[in-house]
Subunit: 223 residues, 2 copies
Amino acid sequence: MLNDDAQPGTATERAYRFTKAGILDGSLPAGELISEGQVARPLRLSRTPVREAFLQLQAEGLLKLFPKRGALVVPVSTGEVEAVIEARDVIESHAIDRVAAASDDVLDEVVAAMTAAVADQVAAVTAADELAFVEADRLFHTVLVRAGCRSLLLDVYGSLRDRQLRMNLGALGGRFPGRSEGLVAEHRALLDRLRARDAPGARQVLREHLAGTRASVLGAPAV
Amino acid sequence: MLNDDAQPGTATERAYRFTKAGILDGSLPAGELISEGQVARPLRLSRTPVREAFLQLQAEGLLKLFPKRGALVVPVSTGEVEAVIEARDVIESHAIDRVAAASDDVLDEVVAAMTAAVADQVAAVTAADELAFVEADRLFHTVLVRAGCRSLLLDVYGSLRDRQLRMNLGALGGRFPGRSEGLVAEHRALLDRLRARDAPGARQVLREHLAGTRASVLGAPAV
DNA sequence: CTCGGACGACTGAGATGCAAGAGGGATGCG
DNA sequence: CGCATCCCTCTTGCATCTCAGTCGTCCGAG
């Protein structure tokens, strides 16, 4: 937010990061109609790279471009929450199946990585570091998906997590109201099932996990 | 291919369609490094809209942009075939579960639409109309996914089918070497299972169906 | 004959300029 | 005072221009 300019990368990348960050952290509020100039001016860029960034963000579903009108920061609708949860369920369940059926070596490696992520989460909770917690949470799930899915689904999953991050921030204002412990416990349960190669059990845990996420996002009136 | 100009839509759209069509029908061969001018010149456009089209196609995975070098028409690798098949399996299986658990009304409607698609396929086979056959095949699956998945997965599935289309054309030169009957039979079997709300059975049929597709794409040396 | 460095053509990244379309507010009329 | 209309501004779409990086080629030295 502060270092608007003099960032690394191409102009397009800078515009992309700036805009995406703005959307994710809420400084570009959902439902707002933003213009290319709004991004180009503070970054001291021309509109060309901004346009390319907008296009990319539209492909990710964070923006919706209206001809001659502007770019709408798509609001997180209830439907979208459901869609994201559904997609996560489908993809992560698949990953579970694959990992549970993998060789010992692969399974061990994945479980180790996921265990480490959980440890990071616990550390983040004690340090009261929101960002680190979210990052570790993301890592936990990403490791699973990376191990169990091919590139295509993996890419989809990546953009999914971005949207979910935004949902959390939008609905909860960035707070995880005491759900941290529950999340960690569910992660541990998932790991247990995975370690035992109990795919149906792991999927069940995942489903409950996602149901909890869904509830905390949808059911939170405010703070 | 013939009507290069005077098409409807914005310049960006025209560039997008032109390039995508070229990639899908093979006139822009996979592995080739194409330049913006190559598309802009025949369409009598400037390079700006072409660039935007390239960006979009990169997001869909059909192109890979190399800075200052050009745009690579990504070759259909064995890995990509596997990835597409995997993703289709995951998404369509999920759709099957959802549809099989849906209300009678929904199920009936979906089955009716899919039955109609199969009928179209049969008609296309007798008419020896490749294009219509592929279109009907696509419709068959799309109806299923549309009924069983929310927007997000549906979008993913859409781009999936494009890539698959390209794989077919690339590997088989557009021919379906006598597999048409098999495809129709498998579609019918899938419909039977679906009609009986036998989700596991339907998934099994689907898996075999996709295995057949995979084999015909990967394992087909020629005709 | 082969290898290496420099030159030139080509390509994309980004900036700028112009024109068309959409919306909102002021204005004139009933 | 309410409403339809016009105009003015804002925003994007696209073209054009400049700059920088990359690659192929050519020429000379060993």
